[in-house]
């Protein structure tokens, strides 16, 4: 079965600074990879997803993520964060074969300071 690890529980970043959220997965082949965001009091919203092809994926709200097979990673980045980016971010993995469902990481809470 696949698994996903988000090593950072909480990250604090100054507004305007760059951001990188880490995600590592365990799966025998190339999985489907996702980043979701949960703003306070809201459900989850998809930021971006990777299936195949170009390893740098662009998403909504100015986010991007890079798939690195050699490191089993799918880190999320943003060059300049805004106060509205304060939220919880979830990485998720789904197998590219078989019938298993999405497996979510434990989440990283992002705090933005002025």
């Amino acid at each position: 079965a696949q698994s996903v690890t988000q090593p950072d529980i909480h990250i604090t970043v100054s507004e305007g600074a760059s951001l990188e959220l880490r995600c590592n997965y365990s799966y025998g082949a190339t999985p489907y990879l996702f980043w979701y965001v949960q703003s306070p009091g809201q459900g989850l919203q998809l930021l971006l997803k990777y299936f195949s092809g170009d390893t740098l994926v662009q998403g909504i709200k100015g986010f991007e993520a890079e798939f690195k097979r050699s490191q089993s990673s799918f880190n999320l980045r943003k060059p300049s964060v805004h106060w509205s980016d304060a939220a919880e971010y979830f990485c998720a993995v789904a197998p590219s074969v078989g019938n298993e469902k999405l497996t979510f990481g434990t989440g990283t809470r992002l705090t933005i300071i002025p």
Binding site: I9, Y32, F34, Y36, G41, Q42, G43, L44, Q45, L46, K49, F51, F90, A94, P95, S96, G98, N99, E100, K101, L102, F104, G105, T106, G107
Partner: protein, 114 residues
């Protein structure tokens, strides 16, 4: 836009009560899911449904059941609520059963069992 609604944002119940959580989606999606979200544990899949009257157990089905009598509605039932079922419950839907499909989430129901 896909809209997933959940019947309550906050719910307080007593131990032993039967609890119904309702979820409705308006985009004719085939798949629907129930997750629970707990701090430090991320999202865990309770049950999902591929079609009307079809259901499959997720990772943590114990103490829960589900009902899907109509395509747009997926109910989560706690037959006899217990304090360890205090949690945030998230409903989601997706267009079909492919693992690469985007899941669309409702705002969540925060359940407190006393």
């Amino acid at each position: 836009d896909v809209k997933v609604t959940q019947s309550s944002r906050y719910l307080v119940k007593r131990t032993g009560e039967k609890v119904f959580l309702e979820c409705v989606q308006d985009m004719d999606h085939e798949n629907m899911f129930w997750y629970r979200q707990d701090p430090g544990l991320g999202l865990r899949l309770i049950y999902f449904s591929y079609d009307v009257k079809m259901k499959e157990k997720g990772d943590i089905p114990e103490g829960y059941s589900v009902s899907r009598e109509k395509k747009e509605r997926f109910s989560l039932i706690l037959e006899s609520a217990s304090t360890n079922q205090t949690s945030m419950y998230l409903c989601a839907s997706s267009l079909d059963s492919g693992a690469q499909e985007t899941q669309y989430f409702g705002p969540g129901t925060r359940l407190l069992v006393l």
